[in-house]
């Protein structure tokens, strides 16, 4: 494409006049620098504009200069400059330009900061808004006659293609050209649908219901055509219904609308800011492409379903207070523990997605994720997934635990199918999100941000995304195989064959194969859950210790080591499963080896604390709590890793205690730390410190009690996933303590949510950098503006050089260097 160097452009518009392709577009907001951009999609590289520019600001792509040598007396324009240019443009109109400066003869101006924005303006910036507004206000264009030429294209496309699905038409109707339409289209009184119905979430849910009914109808139709006796068969109907329901959701919510438009050859302007004419909060319930909105959507959805999972835990913990069944039946208990497991896992994945989406682009100075539409799709596909998992509870539930081992899952109630599909959707989100994150980190880091100058959380996110991108397929595959085994009778895993299968001589299935496939994801998945949390610990400790992160490179590499070794340990979940005996040894050695990089993290954290100047606001308390809880989790893991002791501990409450401690220490505590820490940046307000500390002081001791109580009960013989236990084991006191602790943890989380909700509405406004952090997101206002950084910053130092006077990490105004 042809380039305009925006610093040199002083808004002469002769280039616009000569351009045959309508590709030179004024910047937005109009009347402010920068004045013009070239739309790379429209530009035909004719070069006609190049000689027209009186300022020599337009170049062929190959000739774009990095430096400009001033002749003296000419002006440049850049934000931050304070001079004025007053004069006339070539139409003879008077213009006054701000942000300018007159150059001295021989002065060298660095033009590199001007080149990237020129590319980005259209690929991810405001460029398409400008195009759209141009089309809406034709009078503003100098070359009026050419406006109609652009118009026929979409119209022709619309005629040539079959009508779009209904929901997309709905959406188009609802987005009127709002700034005063042309008078010849007199206002037919437009009936606005109620605000409630314009929310993407509501429309998505309606779409899911419609899709489900459609899928069920389709199933019945196929059965009818096949001449089957029973037209209605619940299981295939629900499975097909759930699939179509999910498609219905993403279509109706609008997560695929832009891709549909691309296929039709239509323009898809990148929308920014809240939806026009609606309150700001509505953007959180609609498809929005801003990574920070998506991050908040992930986080809030994660907390919401965490409440569902927690409520289930409360119910079955109360049931476990005493032997015998009192509150719920065994079937309900089994469904609840299964649902608790998977809902909490989904909640953690959403929380991880929330932290990575919100923080990583801010930390590396990217304006957004690399693929904003994919990002939004990746979030929204979770919602129908969560709906499916919750619906499963009402379809008989499923009594398999979250692991869904066949042959049990082949026999379980229909609920298990919706559980499989729900997990499939959440997994799809993981894959897409991690792809997006890896590309973003690889391609969109700020100038000067070498890999070892990235904030440590970015390293943790990259390690996490590597796992998600490469392992998640396996759980999707294993669940899908059970799903089709049930619906289509393909005997992948069941050793006991149907008569029909025996008749054709089919080989029996292998239940152990499922476990290999399943754990190939599900073990690395626990590192997906904890690595971001450990990254948060490493990220926050230096801020509150006022010291550099001890052994930055070691911590970064330990995340990668955990991620990679994590792929070689899956069969430690199967030490008692009856796989080949010799396999136990290599998997034991690999498992124990994970302790080494984990130990490096612990010791480096201690090194960071040593000789610091520690302060203890709520985020720091949660970080320290996380270290103590993760320590319990890590240490209780050692005897699980050694095969011999695991033969005793496997499938007992010892493992339950171990796992909950790793999840709380590796995810929940750091997650809350992150929420409190970045709360001022997200909301622009201060959370209530007293309530935050109350949350901590309730949750931490309670969690210790819960974890140690679970482990102790397990040693006494308490098995996993049992609705009732033998009073002869003498574990009733442990059960009492664990239940009480669980209730306290739940209450503390409710206090936290109350705090976050109240503070967002009423609390004091927060300053830009309440923690005196060096991280770039704290160098811009709270709440963060729509386009996070006014211009790309430049990394000029180490990220954690606390205690080194005069050092900075990022230079927010690299352009001013030319002053």
């Amino acid at each position: 494409m042809t380039h305009i160097i925006t610093s040199l452009c002083l808004r002469d518009s002769s280039c616009v006049e000569v351009c045959p392709a309508e590709c030179i577009i004024p910047g937005r907001p109009m009347g402010q620098w920068p004045w013009y951009y070239i739309d790379p999609d429209a530009c035909i590289d004719c070069g006609a504009c190049i000689p027209e520019c009186p300022f020599d600001a337009i170049f062929d792509e190959s000739a774009v200069p990095a430096q400009y040598a001033a002749k003296g007396g000419e002006y440049i324009a850049r934000p931050g400059l304070e001079g004025h240019y007053e004069g006339k443009n070539e139409h003879g109109e008077a213009v006054v330009l701000d942000c300018t400066r007159q150059l001295q003869a021989g002065e060298e101006v660095d033009l590199t900061p001007d080149i990237k924005p020129n590319y980005d303006y259209f690929s991810e910036g405001t460029g398409y808004d400008a195009l759209q507004m141009e089309a809406a206000v034709p009078a503003a264009r100098p070359a009026e006659t050419e406006t109609p030429a652009a118009a026929p294209e979409p119209a022709a496309a619309a005629e040539a293609t079959p009508p779009a699905p209904q929901s997309e038409q709905l959406e188009e109707v609802e987005q009127p050209p709002d700034d005063g339409g042309p008078p010849e289209a007199p206002a037919a009184p437009r009936r606005e649908p109620p605000l409630f119905l314009t929310l993407g979430l509501v429309r998505g849910l309606i779409g899911q219901v419609v899709g489900t009914v459609f899928g069920m109808g389709l199933t019945c139709l196929v059965r009818l055509v096949l001449g089957l006796e029973e037209i209605w068969a619940a299981e295939p109907a629900w499975v097909v219904g759930a699939l179509f329901g999910t498609v219905g959701f993403v279509v109706a919510v609008g997560a695929v609308t832009d891709w549909g438009k691309w296929m039709l050859g239509q323009e898809t302007p990148m929308r920014h800011g809240p939806p026009e004419g609606k309150p700001t909060w509505t953007r959180y319930f609609c498809v929005d492409y801003n990574h920070r909105v998506i991050g908040v959507q992930y986080t809030v959805t994660g907390i919401a379903i965490m409440l569902i999972g927690g409520a289930l835990a409360w119910i079955f913990r109360l049931e476990l207070l005493a032997p015998e069944m009192q509150i719920i039946t065994q079937g309900t208990f089994n469904s609840f523990i299964s649902a608790h497991g998977i809902i909490m896992i989904a909640s953690i994945l959403l929380g991880v997605g929330g932290m990575m989406n919100y923080l990583v682009p801010l930390m590396i100075g990217a304006s957004d994720m690399a693929f904003p539409r994919l990002n939004a799709f990746g979030y929204w596909i979770n919602v129908p997934g969560a709906v499916l998992v919750v619906t499963a509870l009402f379809l008989g539930g499923w009594d398999t635990g979250w692991t869904g081992y066949p042959p049990l899952s082949v026999r379980a109630p229909i609920g298990v199918q919706l559980f499989f599909l729900g997990v499939y959707m959440v997994g799809l989100s993981s894959i897409l999100g991690s792809l997006n994150l890896l590309v973003t980190v690889a391609r969109m880091r700020a100038p000067g941000m070498s890999l070892f100058r990235m904030p440590i959380f970015v390293w943790a996110s990259v390690a996490t995304a590597l796992i998600q991108l490469t392992a998640t397929q396996l759980i999707g595959l294993s669940f899908l195989m059970v799903l089709v085994e049930r619906v289509l009778g393909m005997g992948f895993f069941s050793p006991v064959l149907s008569d029909a299968a025996v008749a054709v001589g089919a080989p029996p299935g292998d239940p152990i194969l499922f476990q290999h496939l399943f754990w190939f994801y599900s073990h690395p998945a626990v590192y997906v859950f904890i690595l971001p949390g450990l990254g948060i610990i490493s990220e926050l400790l230096p801020v509150f210790a006022r010291k550099p992160l001890f052994g930055y490179k070691w911590i970064a590499m330990s995340s990668m080591a955990i991620a990679l070794v994590g792929f070689l340990v899956w069969a430690h979940h199967m030490f008692t499963a009856g796989m080949e005996e010799f396999l136990r040894v290599p998997f034991m050695l690999a498992t124990l080896f994970v302790a080494v990089p984990t130990g490096v993290k612990f010791f480096s954290w201690l090194g960071t604390l040593w000789q610091g100047k520690l302060t203890f606001p709520t985020p720091m308390l949660f970080v320290l709590g996380a270290i103590s809880v993760f320590l319990i989790g890590g240490l209780t893991g050692l005897p699980n890793g050694t095969v011999t002791t695991d033969l005793f501990l496997h499938d007992t409450y010892w493992v339950v205690g171990h796992f909950h401690a790793t999840m709380f220490g590796g995810f929940a505590f750091p997650f809350f730390a992150a929420i409190y820490y970045w709360y001022p940046k997200v909301t622009g307000r201060k959370y209530n410190e007293a309530l935050g500390k109350l949350h901590f002081w309730l949750m931490t001791p309670a969690f210790w009690v819960q974890s140690l109580g679970q482990a102790a009960a397990g040693l006494k013989g308490m098995r996993r996933r049992i609705a009732d236990y033998d009073p002869a084991l003498g574990i009733e006191p442990y059960q009492l303590w664990v239940t009480l602790a669980g209730i306290v943890i739940g209450v503390s989380v409710l206090i936290c949510i109350f705090n976050l909700w109240q503070s967002a509405r009423k609390a004091q406004l927060a300053e830009a950098n309440p923690w005196d952090s060096r991280s770039p997101e704290f160098q811009i206002p709270s709440p963060i503006p729509e386009h996070s950084y006014a211009q790309p910053f430049e990394v000029v130092g180490e990220p954690y050089d606390y205690g080194l006077p005069g050092s900075v990490y990022v230079d927010m105004r690299p352009a001013s260097a030319v002053d």
């Binding site: 089994n334 006022r546 001890f550 008692t576 499963a577 203890f616 270290i627 320590l631 011999t644 009732d724």
Partner: protein, 330 residues
């Protein structure tokens, strides 16, 4: 600092030691496992003390004092330290890996003259077959001080054979036979507890275990053989099948409703079916319900009965069970 860590280590280790965390021990394999677990607890106590003492010390000593300003010491790291706390754990981990391999070898080693017990799990009961003695029992009876090899399998879903006092466990996988070796050491009564979730009544999938002195075991075998030989009436054989084939996990004899209908006074009664019709519980209905459990479901019950009895029971077995049910009239 070192003293502090040592004190806390000893205190935590002693606390864990005196807490008698484990259930009673009744197998030779368990001795090895308990020893190794104890060693783990000592390492856990040390590492716990190491991290917590440093952390709490830092919190107390390095906290920002009132009126203090400025940052902490500008220390980026220490490569020597990092190498030390990478290499030392590698060595510790390698040592534990070595111990794991050696103990695993000992725990799985075959004895010279093993007694074999075939263990079969099904939803939700255990069956124990003694091939050499020609016995089948729903109770696991073993002689003390004997090497026993359990050949463990399942007829439906995955279960897990675990007697906490024996320590070791092994999953029962349909389509496969997995061995587990236990050397009994202590006379006593224990329970087999299914450790892998296996559906509705997983929690109740227990079976009694008795470890007897050698002479008592032989007496039990003889008595069982006599008792089984004495089972001349079909109803008595049916009662035995009720015990050993897992019927009793879901069907009571005293009128209480478990997972399935109670067998008390069931034969000859009229039962409403889930499809709205009703049926007289006669021989045909019972036979069909055993072999094809889902076909004629009684209202109020779910189709949870394993469909595997067609393969497990002979025609004569089914007749015996029907006879047993007929005998359960008041």
């Amino acid at each position: 600092m070192a003293v502090l860590i040592a004190v806390v280590t000893v205190a935590v280790a002693a606390g864990l030691d005196s807490a008698s965390l484990l259930p009673p021990l009744a197998s030779a394999q368990g001795v090895i496992i308990d020893w190794l677990f104890g060693l783990h607890l000592k390492v856990i106590a040390f590492l716990f003390a190491l991290v917590m003492v440093f952390m709490l010390y830092s919190i107390v000593v390095f906290r920002r004092k009132a009126g203090e300003s400025g940052d902490g010491a500008h220390i980026h790291g220490n490569t020597t330290l990092e190498i030390i706390w990478t290499v030392v754990p590698v060595l510790i981990v390698a040592y534990f890996g070595y111990l794991g391999v050696v103990t695993l070898r000992d725990v799985t080693a075959a004895g010279p003259d093993e007694m074999v017990v075939k263990v079969t799990g099904s939803q939700w009961s255990w069956k124990f077959e003694y091939p050499r003695q020609g016995l089948t029992s729903s109770e696991l009876v073993l002689p003390v001080n004997r090497d026993v090899r359990f050949d463990i399998t399942s007829i439906d879903v995955i279960h897990s054979f675990w007697v906490p006092e024996f320590r070791v466990k092994q999953d029962a996988v349909p389509g496969a036979v997995n061995p587990l070796r236990v050397t009994t050491t202590v006379v006593g009564e224990y329970k087999v507890r299914c450790a892998e979730i296996c559906g509705l009544v997983h929690a109740g999938m227990l079976a009694p275990v008795r470890v007897l002195p050698r002479a008592d075991f032989d007496a039990w075998v003889a008595a069982e053989i006599d008792r089984l030989a004495a089972l001349e009436t079909p109803a008595a054989r049916g009662a035995q099948l009720y015990e050993t084939q897992g019927c009793k996990a879901c069907h009571s004899l005293d009128g209480s409703v478990l997972v399935g209908p109670s067998w008390q006074n069931l034969f000859g009664s009229q039962e409403p079916l889930a499809d709205g019709s009703s049926v007289t519980v006669d021989e045909d209905y019972i036979r069909n319900s055993i072999l094809k459990p889902g076909e004629q479901l009684v209202e109020g019950f779910n189709n949870l009965m394993p469909a595997t009895y067609e393969d497990m029971l002979t025609e004569a077995d089914v007749e015996d069970i029907i006879a047993f049910m007929q005998s359960l009239q008041d």
